[in-house]
Amino acid sequence: MTLSHFLLVALALFALGLYSVLTRRHLIGLLIGVELMLNAASINFLAFDRFVVKDPATGQIIVLFIIGLAAAEAAIALSIILSAYRAHRSADVDDLDELKN
């Protein structure tokens, strides 16, 4: 198992996340995509931490931050999605285009 194996997995995860962010119509789908990308980033951090950096603490701290951030983000995003749904009776991104023009 070398560094590139981990990076490839992370890349695949990131690509999947990006893909779902760009193509999912439902807001929850988008949120899941964002979580995938965050996790891909976390894997990268841990991988670099393991193979490149001497002091293993740095990457782990950042990953812990990312996890905390992802939890907070999910909480806020879900509440936004909920209130958007209440207001528009829809959670479809294409319907939520009030900021256009």
Binding site: L22, V93, L99, N101
Partner: protein, 614 residues
């Protein structure tokens, strides 16, 4: 009182009257009139008191008016003989006319305003006369123009009066612009505008010849405008739209006389300027004949007198242009009396009969007004230059001055003009006093003022001026001494042709209009084309209107189009382009979240590619 204080009193008393009438006493017209007449009396008294003092004084400086770097202008009075003489004439005539107006304007709703404007006028004119320097003179010269604008347009509800006032202001303004530039050139050449100092030979000699000629010509522009000389004369006949006493005021000693007076004041300059006197003579002779021919065919009494004013002013300029200060000033003096008299007589007829038309006046029994008719005959004889009345002496001295050194053409021109003067003057007299039933009555148009009987307050000024018109001619030597010029005493041999010519004019007029069963048709009517040409005033009004008016209007229209189309258009275009750009870029904000994210990712990739070098 010192002469400075007297001059201040003389010039500014009417201003008090003006302010009182226009602001304080608007609702008390009789009090306003009384105040103004009192003020005018004070002016006249002060003018006489100044005259009683010495007549060779240095200019009295009251205060420094304006001081900028190149322009030290003081406010002061020059009280030499010429100014003393003019001041008395102005104050006297203005007073006579104000007294006359008491009766003439009775019942007019603008009574107080009328007297207030009279006060304004008298203030401006007297201050102009006594001015110690050219700029001060110019200030009051403009104010005289302003006051005449307001007086001509006194009956502002009449469209023709409003138009006439505008025309008077604009035409004189054209001349004034020339004069103003001349004034600035004079200032920059000599760095003084003090009249007494300017007229010293040493000052004049210090100006280069070409410059001096230019300055003289530019100043003459002002004279042409103010004194209604060809080609700027067309405003004066229209100025008849004002009340008749106003015409009397404007035409005798004031407004139009201001131009000639300025010329007289600057006589040394005009003499020193090479080639200018010939131009002056040419313009004067053209004006004299042109105006006299038009006067021959007018039926409106005031218009005849208006054209006669133009023609007589040209005579004064002939005298001055020929180099004789005496002749010009003398004629200015005598003309002031008899022209004021003639206008007041015309006003009396208009007041009584209610028409400006001479034929109508005759039919309605104008001759029954005995005193007025006597005044008319004496004034007319003075105007025609019959001995021994005022106009005779002054006109003879002008002709004598012309005889001196100038081409015969001018002399013959002047003879022609005097013949025409005698002719049209007595045509007027006979039409008014010896009516015949042969001529046709015109369609009616008259002044919008309440008519009534000629009152005593109207008769008194007429009587005074009649005496003046009869006697002023004998004051020649006195005037010469006062203004310090050489009097001209033509011999009987020199006078004979002029007397003969004037008599010939009277006789022709008598034959055509005065004798029993006269046809009351002028000889000029036999030549239809000329008759129409004179009747239509050489079409000058039309030509000016079409050519100059049209040109200005065209340029103005082009400018307005440029403003709307090009300048505003460019501004609007810039604004609209900005808005259009905004609209176009706003379209990129589709509100599609995923589109934003996609383009962001794409941009990051592109950015990394270029920055990272991959």
């Amino acid at each position: 009182m010192s002469s400075g204080t007297l001059a201040l009193l003389c010039t500014h008393a009417p201003l008090v009257g003006c302010f009182g009438a226009l602001v304080v006493l608007r609702r008390a017209p009789r009090a306003a009139a009384a105040l103004n007449i009192l003020a005018m009396l004070a002016s006249l008294g002060a003018a006489l008191a100044i005259f009683a003092g010495s007549n060779h004084q240095p200019p009295t400086i009251i205060s420094l008016w304006l001081s900028s770097e190149g322009v030290p202008i003081s406010f002061g009075f020059l009280l030499d003989g010429t100014n003393q003489l003019m001041g008395i004439i102005v104050a006297l005539i203005a007073l006579c006319i104000q007294v006359y107006s008491l009766g003439y304007m009775k019942g007019d709703p603008g009574y107080a305003r009328y007297f207030g404007l009279h006060g304004l006028f008298a203030w401006a004119m007297l201050s102009f006369v006594y001015s110690a320097n050219l700029l001060q003179a110019f200030v009051f010269w403009e104010l005289v123009g302003l006051a005449s604008f307001l007086l001509i347009g006194f009956w502002f509800e009449k469209p023709s009066a409003a138009a006439a006032a505008k025309k008077a202001f604009v035409m004189t303004r054209i001349g004034d612009v020339g004069m103003f530039i001349g004034l600035i050139l004079l200032l920059s050449s000599t760095s003084t505008l003090d009249i007494a100092q300017l007229m010293q030979a040493s000052t004049l000699a210090s100006i280069p010849d070409a410059r001096l000629t230019l300055i003289a010509l530019l100043l003459f522009c002002g004279v042409v405008g103010k004194s209604a000389q060809f080609p700027l004369h067309t405003w004066l006949p229209d100025a008849m739209e004002g009340p008749t006493p106003v015409s009397a005021l404007l035409h005798s000693a004031t407004m139009v006389a201001a131009g000639v007076f300025l010329y007289a004041r600057f006589h040394p300059l005009f003499v020193a300027a090479e080639g200018v006197s010939n131009i002056v003579l040419v313009i004067a002779i053209i004006t004299a004949i042109l105006a006299a021919t038009i006067a021959m065919v007018q039926r409106d009494m005031k218009r005849v007198l208006a054209y006669s004013s133009i023609s007589q002013l040209a005579f004064m300029l002939l005298g001055l242009g020929a180099g004789s200060l005496y002749a010009g000033v003398f004629h200015l003096t005598t003309h002031a009396f008899f022209k004021a008299l003639l206008f007041l007589c015309a006003g009396a007829y208009i007041h009584q009969i209610g028409s400006n038309d001479m034929v109508t006046m005759g039919r309605q029994g104008a001759a029954k007004l005995r005193l007025v008719s006597a005044g008319l005959v004496i004034g007319a004889a003075a105007l025609a230059g019959l001995p021994p009345l005022a106009g005779f002496f002054s006109k003879e001295s002008i002709l004598a001055a012309l005889h001196g050194a100038h081409a015969n053409a001018f002399v013959y021109g002047a003879y022609l003009a005097s013949f025409l003067t005698a002719y049209y003057t007595f045509r007027m007299v006979f039409l008014v006093l010896r009516p015949s039933d042969k001529s046709v009555l015109p369609a009616e148009e008259h002044e919008p003022h309440p008519h009534g009987d000629v009152t005593g307050s109207m008769k008194l000024p007429i009587a005074i001026l009649t005496v003046g018109a009869a006697a002023a001619g004998f004051a020649g030597d006195f005037i010469a001494k006062l203004i310090g010029a050489k009097a001209l005493h033509p011999t009987y041999g020199e006078m004979a042709p002029a007397i003969g010519i004037a008599l010939a004019g009277v006789i022709v007029a008598f034959f055509e209009f005065g004798r029993k069963d006269a046809a009351q048709q002028g000889f000029i009517t036999r030549v239809g084309a000329l008759d129409t040409l004179f009747e239509r005033k050489y079409y000058l009004d039309e030509i000016y209107d079409k050519v100059a008016g049209g040109l200005v209007s065209l340029i103005a229209s082009v400018s307005a189009v440029v403003e709307r189309g090009v300048l505003d258009g460019t501004g609007d275009l810039a604004g609209n382009l900005t808005i259009a750009t905004g609209d176009a870029t706003a379209r990129m904000q589709s509100g599609r979240l995923q589109l934003y994210i996609g383009s962001a990712v794409l941009l990051i990739v592109v950015f990394c590619y270029f920055v990272g070098g991959y």
